[in-house]
Each structure stands twice: as C-alpha cells, then as structure tokens.
C-alpha cells in the first residue's frame, strides 16, 4: 500500500516475534532465584516455628501466625485463580498478555493444600491448639450456653472440618490445574477450541469457586472465634484476595519486564487497566469491610459486636486505623489519577505497597484471636519470620515450577493475543 509512506511518523510497530522468542521465557535471573528463595523461605519458616515454640507466647500463637502466613499466600493464589476465570468468563481481550502471570501464581494452589496440613493436624489433636471449638472444655471455659454449643459443634467438629477442607483444596486445585493445563496446551497448538472450553467451564467454575472460598473463609478464619458469625465474611476475604492478586500480577509483570521478558507485549495500556482494577478493588474492599462493620455496629448485639470490638481496642484498634487510612484512603486517592495509572513504575509501587497492607489486613483478622495480643517482640518476630518464609517458599516454588516445565510467561498462541497486544485505552 502506498499509503504507508504518508503515515511514516506513526510509531513503528515491533517486528513480529515467533512463539519461541526468548523474551517469552522466564528470565534467567528469575530462574536462578527459585532455589535460593525456596530454601531461604523454608529455613525462615522453620526458624519462625522454632522461635514461636521456644520463645513465643504459646503454641496457639505460633499456629495463628502460621495461619496468617498461609492465608496471605493462599489469598493471592486464589485471587489469581479468580482473575483467570473471570477473564475467560467475560472473554476479555485486554488481559491475555498478563494472564499467564496469574496462571503461574494460581498453580501454587495444590502445593498450598499441602501447606494446610499442619493446620489440619491441630484439629485432630482435639485440645483447641488452633481452633477453640476443637477444645472439649470450651463450654466450661467460656460459659457459652451448652445447648447452643451442642448445635454448633454439629458443624464445627474435626471429621466434618477435614472433609470440607479437603473439598475446598480439591476444587481449587482441580480448577487451577484445569485452566493451567489447557492454557499451556494452547501454547503448543493454538487451538481456538481450547479457549472455548475454558470459557464454557468458567461460569460453573466461578460458582464453585465462590462457594468454596466463602466457606473456607468461614471455616478456616471465622471459626477462630467460634461464637461469632458474619455472612459477609467470605466476601470480605474474597475482596482482599482479588485486590492482592491484581497487585501481585502487576508487581510480577513489572519485575519480569525489568528482567527483560515481555517488554514489548505488556504496555502502558495494560498497566492502566491493572491500575484501574486495583483502584476499584481498593474501594470494593473498603466497601465490603465497612458494610460488614456498619451492620454489626448499628445492630449493636453483643454476640455480633465481640469480634469487631475486640479489634478496636489497643494495638488492634491502631491496626484498624491503619487499614482505614493506609489500606483504603491513601492508595485510593493516590491511584485516582490517570497519570499515576499510566505510569508502570507508579502502578508497581502502589501494588507493592498494597501487598504490604494486605498483610496487615490478614494479620488483623487472624492474630487478635491469640490471647496474648501481638505477643511482644518474639511474637512479632514469629509472625514476620513465618510470613516472609511462606512468601519466599511460595515464590521460589512458583518460579521453580515455571522453570522446570518451561512455562512461557505469556500465552503465546492465544487467539486473543493480537487483540491484547494492540490494546489501547484512549
């Protein structure tokens, strides 16, 4: 076409890359980090457990700190699973270039199922090591009505809890493996039919996911306070998870690009969209947590307020304020401008910041159930060691898996990849 001479000052499109372009592989620096991260993480995890057992306030405290760390990584993985499914559900074009990053993080779910075993083990000790409903003396210790309690333990008992937990893990792992496997098969074949299958399954899959995630939140986190209940609790955990997942995707993609991978594929436009979603989910998280709070606050019924009230006193009250101002208000205002969201470095910075805030959120949900507040210096050290260790293990494992299986960091033959590459917001 002769027209091309006229439009020479248009930005030059990058040369078409083949599917096995080296920039689609995990960068060598990342692959090299996998072992140190995993080993370092495992060492810190063991160190954290030892500190908790030897110098920490109690075994229960250590287990709660472990649950915090576990929930932190699990929530990111679950959020990524949700991200992948929702993109298929609405046949999104823009997100294809960042979808594989989410897929890599969601495939940790089966491994996280193994990390859940220590928590499951405490339930079978039958002495309330982690979950107090597990303690046969609960009624005697707390003065809860024995009759009400006899109804409650029909749901909260070790065998039924184990069955449910296994169902959750099985469903999540099954979904993660299904989506991961099909997406990778498409890397080889480029079949459109695979996309169609993934789309067709995403509707029911997301319903299963919603049920499992909500009930897992009830069972694993809400039952820490066995007499307290909030039907919104599952959504609250979900909101935090999805926010954290979007942040993790942004940070992961940004660091991949820094290391030399997918530099031409992920553009300002994709960061702009991730930024919009992060900003939106910051508000969604605040909206959901406030909705839960306000109903309880307004109703003002002791059995409902105990959970909130406990978290408004002392150090928990301070963390609550941190959540309001630093988890919601500051990032919400900070990411409001288009100029910020169209700056990849700024988006990655805010995402990193929010990932730290997400830890405060989980910490604030789980740790107040310990009798010994933050557990002093040793207690805080235990929490930090366990969380950092768990994150190290999580990242190391994920990178090791991607490297060992030659996973590309972008779905190279996805039928919507061209749409995603050409994506423009304005």
């Amino acid at each position: 076409m002769t027209d091309h001479a006229v439009i020479a000052d248009q930005p030059i499109k990058p040369k078409t890359k083949t599917a096995d372009d080296p920039s689609f592989m995990l960068p060598a620096s990342f692959a090299g980090m996998s072992l140190p991260l995993a080993v370092g993480g495992a060492v810190l995890l063991v160190a954290g457990a030892l500190v908790g057992m030897m110098a920490g306030p109690s075994t229960r405290f250590t287990m709660l700190a472990y649950l915090t760390a576990f929930t932190y990584c699990l929530s990111i993985s679950l959020g990524c699973l949700f991200f992948v499914m929702i993109q298929h559900l609405c046949r999104a074009g823009w997100s294809v270039v960042v979808r594989r990053v989410a897929e890599i993080m969601m495939i940790a779910l089966p491994a996280l199922g193994i990390m859940f075993l220590p928590i499951l083990a405490t339930v079978w000790l039958g002495d309330g090591t982690l979950y107090r409903w597990d303690d046969p003396n609960f009624v005697a210790n707390t003065g809860v009505s024995a009759e009400a309690w006899s109804q409650k333990i029909r749901y909260l008992n070790a065998p039924w809890f184990t069955i449910r937990s296994l169902i959750y893990i099985a469903v999540w792992s099954g979904l993660a493996i299904f989506y991961f496997r099909l997406s990778r098969r498409q890397d080889e074949t480029g079949e459109i039919k695979l996309s169609e299958t993934m789309q067709a399954r995403s509707g029911p899959a997301i319903m299963l996911f919603a049920l499992c995630t909500s009930f897992a939140a009830f069972d694993w986190l809400m039952s820490l306070a066995p007499t307290w209940f909030s039907t919104m609790f599952g959504v609250y955990i979900f909101a935090g998870s999805v926010l954290a997942a979007h942040c993790a995707i942004a940070v992961f993609t940004y660091s991949l690009q820094r290391a030399g991978a997918i530099r031409d594929e992920v553009t300002v436009e994709h960061y702009h969209d991730l930024g919009k979603l992060i900003n939106g989910f910051t508000l969604f998280w605040a909206y959901i947590s406030f909705s839960q709070f306000m109903l309880i606050w307004y109703g003002n019924i002791p059995e409902e307020t105990e959970w909130i009230y406990h978290r408004q006193v002392g150090v928990w009250g301070s963390i609550g304020l941190i959540l309001i101002f630093l988890h919601w208000m500051l990032p919400f205002l900070g990411m409001m401008s288009r100029h910020v969201r169209r700056n990849p470095t700024a988006v990655a910075a805010w995402a990193t910041y929010l990932l730290v805030m997400h830890f405060f959120d989980i910490y604030w949900i789980v740790m107040p159930e310990a009798e010994s507040a933050t557990g002093g210096v040793m207690g805080v050290l235990t929490s930090l060691l366990l969380t950092v260790g768990m994150i190290g293990l999580f990242l190391g494992g994920v990178l090791w898996f991607a490297q060992a299986n030659n996973v590309k960091v972008i779905p190279v033959r996805d039928p919507r990849l061209p749409e995603s590459l050409a994506f423009e917001n304005i």
């Binding site: 027209d3 006229v6 439009i7 000052d9 248009q10 406030f290 709070f293 306000m294 606050w297 307004y298 003002n300 409001m336 401008s337 288009r338 423009e424 917001n425 304005i426």
Partner: protein, 519 residues
Amino acid sequence: MSHQAKPTIDTPKESKLFGTYAEFDNVDQLLAGCRKVRDAGYIKTDAYTPFPVHGIDKALGIKPTILPWICLACGLTGTSIALAMQIWMNAIDYPYIISGKPFISMPAFIPVTFELTVLLAAFGAFFGMLALNKLPMFSNPVFTDPRFDRATDDRFFLFVSAEDAKYNQASITKMFGCLGSGHVADIHEDTSSNTVPRPFFVIVGLLALFSTVPLLTLARMRVTNSGSPRFHVFYDMDFSPSKDAQQTTTLFADGRTMRPDVPGTVAVGQFNDSIDFYTGIDMNQLSMIDQPRATRLVRALLDEPANDESATEEPATEEPANESTMTPADEQVADEPIAEGSAVDAQDAAAAGVGAAAAAAIDKTPWLTTNPLPITAQSLENGRKNYEIYCAVCHGNDGGGNGLVNRRAQRILATAWVQPSSLHQDTLFAEQYADGKLFNTISNGIRKMPGYSAQIPTKNRWAIVAYVRALQQSQNASIDELPADKRSEVKKRQAEIEQRLREQADAEKKKAEAAANKI
C-alpha cells in the same frame, strides 16, 4: 479507489467561510492527516469518524480534558454537603438519640455520604462532558454538505476551522491534497433561515397548555369538597389493620386493644424512687396519721392490684388525694351552675376564699412544703414552657385567671363555666397552699379543672409548681427584692410611665375644660 482520483474541489461563493474539510477512506490516513495538521500548528481542528478511534486525541494534539477535576470537585462537594447536612440535622438542628449512638456518629453517615459523593460526581462527569463538548448543539454548518453524511457510515473527515489563527484556505487545501484525501471542500456558514417554523411554536404552546391540566385539576381538588370517597391511587397503608384507641380486639383475652403497662413499668426518665415525688405528700408522716390511705396511695402508684377486683377498684384508688382535698365547699362551688358572667368574679372569689379556709381547717394531709426538684434557671424555664402549654389557656400567661378559654367562655356566656382561679391570691401562696398541694392539684385537678398527670410528666409538674411560685412573686414583689443593678432601670421605667400617665390625665383634663368652655 476514490482517494487516488484527482481531488475534486467545491467552492461555493456566497456566505462566510466556516472551514475546510478533507475526506479520507481509512483510519490510518485520517490519523496521519491529524498529525500533519497538528504539527502545522492548527488548533481549532476536529475529526469526524463513524466509530471511536483510539489515539485520535494525541494525533490531533487535543489537550487532556479537565473533566476529571470537575468530577473530583463535584464528588468532594457531595461529600461535604452530605456530611454537613447530616451533622446539622442530627446533631444541631434536631438532636435526636438513635439507638444510643452519639449525635455525630460517622458510621451512620457514611452510606449517605457515599451515595451523594457518587451522585454529584456522576452529575459532574455527565453535565461537565456535555458542557465541555458544547452540547447540545442542534446544528453544525458541516451538515450542509451532503457528502458529510458518510461520517456516520464509512468515511473519515478532518476539519480545520476558519476561526483558527493560522487558517489559510489555499494552503490547507493544498496540504489536504498531499495527504491523499479523495475530496477536499470548504464549508460555509449555514445561511438557511434560522427562524423556527410556526408549527413548532403551536405544538410547544399546546403541550404547555395541556401540561397545566393535571396541575389545575390538582389545584381544584385542593380547594373544593367532594362527597365521594377518597380515591386511593396507592393503597399502601391507607387501610391499616391496626386498631384505634378504645376499640375492642379478639387478640387478647380481656378484649382491650390498648394494652395496660406491665405492673411496675416506669417510663424512661420518669424513675424516682421517692413516693413523695409522685404524690406531693410526706408519706412518712401520712403513714403515721392515716395508715390505710398511705397504703392505698402506694398501691395505686405501683399499679399493684390488691386482688382480683382491681379493675373496679382502680378508679377509686387512683385519685385518693383528689378525693380528700375536695372539701365540701369546693364541691359546692363546682356543682353550682353560674348563670351570670358578672356574678362570677365575686362569687368565685368568695367561694374560693371560704373553700380554702375550710380546706385549711379540714385538710390534715402532710403536704410537702418544699419543691423536691432543684430550682435552677433551667427547671424554671422548663416550668414556664409547660405552664404556657397546659395552664396558660385558662389561667392566663400572667396567672391572673383570665386566659383565652376564660375570655371566650365569658364572651359566649357559657353557663357551666367556672372561673379559673387567679394564682395571685393569698390563699394560693406557699404559706397557705403548700407546694405539694399545688402539685396534687395540677396532677389530679380541682373543681372543673381536670388532672394533668396523664399529660405532664411528674418532673414537669414540679417544674410548673416552681414556676407558679416565681409567677406569684413577680406580681407581688417589692423593689428591694430586685438585684441592685436592675433597680435603677425599673425605677426609671416606672418614672417614665407615671410621667406619661400624668400627661395623659392633663391632656384629658384640658380637653374636658375646653369642651366645657365651649359649651
């Protein structure tokens, strides 16, 4: 391919030039053209495309919009209005305790604040967008060119306005030609008549006329009466199954719709464990003098049925104090029909005097002599309010016994009317008529005056007693009772009034003298 053909150039001669456009048949050409025009320094340009084209803002060099700032400003306005409104309403204008929360309780305000923020931000975005785009714009001179219609179909137009400072018809036409445009044309101001066709006015006028019909109908309905039953557009709660007072019901065994209080119920803010406070009687002394009556009073107060006949006994026990204070003389006055308005004053005064004297002789009830309520400016103010609500209609604002109801009764020569007592008579002063007795009168009534215990809370009745004492003192005070700094003021005022009265008297005297002289 039309763009390869030699550009056809239309140049209509008449009317003012509006601008020049070039027609392209693909997006890339349009974007290239936009960049060229932008780089040549044109500012008043526009592009028309059948669908949104990404990147056209940048290609045309359009400055980032200020719409986000408008949206933010409107959103923050919404936040402030919502917070200010709720704080003012709930905490300042009408402080009202809701579920024991503080007047300013943020969590309760947040939903409204959130909604108003979103609403105003959305308004700002929507109307701001319209305003910034100068919409609605009913006509544009480019519409005069029939070729331009394809802007909604399959052609892309780049337009440069003649108002642009750099505009030069010849150079633009040349530039457009180089860009590969298939068609370049000048647009002239639309010279067609801009008179609005008459049928438009007729239709608008008719619509305006018809639109008044519902309003006029409503207005008529508001001012006229109709014999037919009300028309219920929405049934909603118009026909509530709830019962009215005094109706019967099958829901409860006793058939009463109004449920009696659970025995021992005390309304919020009404609790005072002293029985004296409720009766105005020193119960310790009373139990020494008249044990059965004390027992009856206590039982009535506690709502404790002595036995199964409580229902019949209650009316009798409810106002024992009233019974006992009704002296024979009082009853006589109450029962006596007073025929003549002129006779009322003297008769009542005499009767009251006699009655009070007789009452003092017979009444041995140990009335409380001091008001159990702390006397503060606040409680007196409260007493004044309650007095003016409940008492002043008969007794008058000044306590002289000539309130509005009394005046009306005298005007219509009401036959069964008993003149309300003036509160400014010795027999009603504290020395003869103890505070407790006055309280009892307010609570249970006297002669034709009904008891007010059902309407006025106990505390407020005591406040009225305090206020009546203040009222009595105000009408019978000497100047020495005033605070020193107020005395001179009152004296001055008194002198003024006396002076004026004297002048008035002098004037009248002169007038009378003048009239007498004339005769």
